[in-house]
Symmetry: C2
Subunit: 464 residues, 2 copies
């Protein structure tokens, strides 16, 4: 008997096939005519398939009529055309095998709707709901597009280290990684914790970014991208922050900021195009149940070119906008969410790339412009969400990089290997970072970032 | 001017094109005829392109004649047919721009060969060598094939958590993740470290496997695979162990052990086939410089079906082999490397899957057979390397799983969510794990696992 997924069995082309379907019961309804309708889902698509189980089945009274939400079944039967609404096919069961029951007295996922907060407590069961199945399929599509885009363009996938002894990248608070006994760590002569006895012989942490190591490989092999977990030990309980999240970071030798903006724009368009083309059913769901503007927002990404403006021009536009901003605007300040939204939503009505920011508000590794006071930074701001990509052309001049480090109070000795990239065969290069979960929020409309990652890690939460 | 990569410019089809090439100098040789030969590499392939730079170039004396290994250049010119050995094309330079020099007095990567140990100290420069460029391209191909294989087969890519509060999976020693001050951690009334004040309000660790969480998603959405970093805090200084490595773990609902073996075999064949087809030049290099048997070994993976044998039969074969093993063999012992190699290399002469191992030497989650003393485990043993994949059908029966936990001294309460998967709609399911770096060792012949990951983490090593 050929196995078919629910997605396959729902296609008209499956009509007439003898098939085996395996999945979980969503609902059962008994007809007075002596048969039952059972809705089965197997995760391959949002929709269920309707199974017609006749009373003549040998286990009809004992098992079929006791099926409830969450029970697992194998059904052998024939795919037939269906007269039902919203379905081309249905499965007429010749045999129903029940693998596992789900006691309706205790199984949490009953028909009533549960809050997202409640579902987070059941992170091991929530993928069985429509919402989280859809999130997972869209997340998978985004990940697949990320790899396809870069691979087709000749980028090499790079795994930068997760554990690092560099605690000095300045991107945020870090988690310590250790095998020392916290109750009684070894001490040195001065009474301080003796990290030379820790696993890596030194203080070690979870990475906040793979960029610096990405530059190592870009300046050897040309085009690389990372796609891995990164960490922030910040006590942020917001709908936009996770302690553990996945990041995509391309880095390209010989690219300048213009190339970098072009790459970011092509990349975003590709991911969104793939989601629009391949996740139609799930997008319908998000549009109806989660965020009615999701398709409109995605349409703006693929419709035309992104606007581009210097930070200096953006500040001027904000100053003359006549808007009453909560945070006042002037040259030198960082843009707040309200400013980003004004630029993307009101002023341009489409994604906008702001570039060439004041050096004082950006990290040491960004390339200094000839004016001496701006650097080749860029942020991609999307309507509805604000910043979605941040990147820059990197400083490739050894002397400028060293003085920027000193300005920011960093010790160049800690970066000897990073400086070597400028010492030996230095090249212009550029890259950017995209937070996967923020991208999934963007394409699904899910309000809380904890609901677009399988097992969210936030202050106080590391179960499962 | 159109940018071409070295790989593109080496194609015959590029002849006649005006092109811009960007990369790093490998060698320069000056001819008496008044021009120089410069070999350029950009990481897109193992081979260099030869550039002919004429003395008529305005910066010939000042710059071109000073180029040394590691210098970075942009070259505009015309691709012409080459009479040189091993190259169809060469580039005749119309302009040479030098971006960065690499002082031959201090640049470590001079023409002489360096030991692998030495190159590990220069992990930021080693990707500029032939060996590590080739490793990186092959590693990229393996990663790409992993994603392609599963995506084309309808699997969903799953990111299981890196930080976990489960310290009880029994797969190995774990790293602690903490934001407490190790010099002076908060204490509770009993004087013990008060982990309720740690970032996650409890002791937290780096994951050793995503399997249990993979089962959560497989038993909701059918077919999933993880591909992410995993960790072992073991003090193993061997050529086969890393503290941080990448693992691929598929998990499939409704699969039994037979299905699992079929999947593992198809998967390995696909990855190896892709490497053989797409990495020909790099494989030539590995065959000539690193391991002359590498192609033969890969041929055995794709040539025919894998052998399959029960553990019980394998033990019988080992006992009657007449071989003088260092570790004696009898039913109930775990197989040692020497046994695995005998089975794969001598007895079967091809990959062999050993299955149905004694319950006593396998973890609690593997499905118990009707004999009560074996479990549905499987290991794929490859000629030349031994175990490359380990997996099992999982125990889906709640009562059996609980008693296996008790047998192994585990507290079922710690696994409430894992047990819920059996409590509600349980299904047969199976999966396996493949260590990425061991796979890259297998397809390249690289002797030390530290040389197939960009920045290896081992006891005492976490720089870069």
């Amino acid at each position: 008997m050929q196995k078919l997924s629910v997605r396959e069995a729902r296609l008209e082309s499956a009509i007439g096939q003898q098939a085996r379907l395996q999945g979980w019961v969503r609902t059962r309804r008994d007809s007075k005519g002596g048969f039952s309708f059972i809705e089965i889902n197997d995760g391959t698509c949002l929709a269920n398939i309707q199974v017609i189980a006749d009373a003549a089945l040998p286990n009809y009274e004992d098992e079929v009529r006791h099926l409830t939400a969450g029970c697992s079944v194998t059904i052998d039967g024939e795919v037939k055309a269906s007269g039902g609404k919203g379905q081309a096919t249905e499965l007429h069961a010749a045999a129903v095998t029940v693998h596992g029951l789900a006691d309706p007295e205790s199984y949490p996922l009953q028909k009533k709707r549960h809050s997202m907060e409640k579902l987070r407590e059941w992170a091991h069961l929530r993928p069985r709901t429509n919402t989280f199945g859809a999130v997972m399929r869209v997340r998978n599509q985004v990940c697949r597009s990320v790899h396809d885009f870069f691979q087709e363009d000749g980028f090499l996938y790079l795994n930068t280290p997760i554990i690092t002894a560099s605690d000095c990248e300045g991107a945020g608070e870090m988690f310590r990684v250790t095998t020392l006994d916290p109750a009684d760590p070894p001490r040195n002569d001065q009474g301080a914790v003796d990290y030379t006895q820790d696993f890596f012989d030194r203080p070690s942490f979870l990475t906040v970014s793979g960029q610096l190591e990405g530059e190592v490989y870009a300046t050897a092999l040309g085009k690389v991208y990372t796609f891995g977990p990164t960490f922030r030990a910040e006590n942020s309980n917001t709908s936009r922050h996770l302690a553990e999240f996945w990041m995509v970071e391309p880095e390209v030798a010989f690219n300048d900021l213009e190339d970098n903006m072009d790459l970011a724009e092509r990349f975003l368009k590709r991911v969104v195009t793939d989601v629009l083309e391949n996740c139609e059913e799930d997008l319908d769901f998000f549009e109806q149940r989660i965020d009615k503007e999701v398709r409109e927002r995605l349409g703006k990404i693929v419709a035309g070119g992104f606007a581009r403006t210097t930070y200096t021009d953006a500040i001027a536009a904000l100053e003359s906008s006549g808007e009453a901003f909560e945070f006042p605007v002037s040259w030198g300040v960082d843009l707040q969410a309200e400013h980003e939204r004004y630029l993307a939503e009101k002023l341009h009505g489409r994604p906008v790339i702001v570039h060439d920011y004041p050096a004082t508000i950006k990290p040491f590794y960004m390339r200094v412009n000839d004016d001496g006071r701006t650097v080749r930074a860029m942020d991609v701001l999307a309507p509805g969400v604000g910043e979605i990509i941040g990147g820059s052309q990197r400083e490739e001049r050894l002397d400028v990089l060293e003085s920027r480090m000193s300005e920011q109070g960093l010790n160049p000795d800690d970066y000897w290997w990073y400086l070597d990239l400028r010492r030996y065969g230095t090249v212009p290069h550029a890259g950017f970072g995209l937070g996967l979960e923020r991208m999934v929020q963007f394409v699904t409309g899910m309000a809380n970032i904890r609901d677009v990652i399988p097992f969210p890690r936030t202050p106080g939460n590391a179960e499962f």
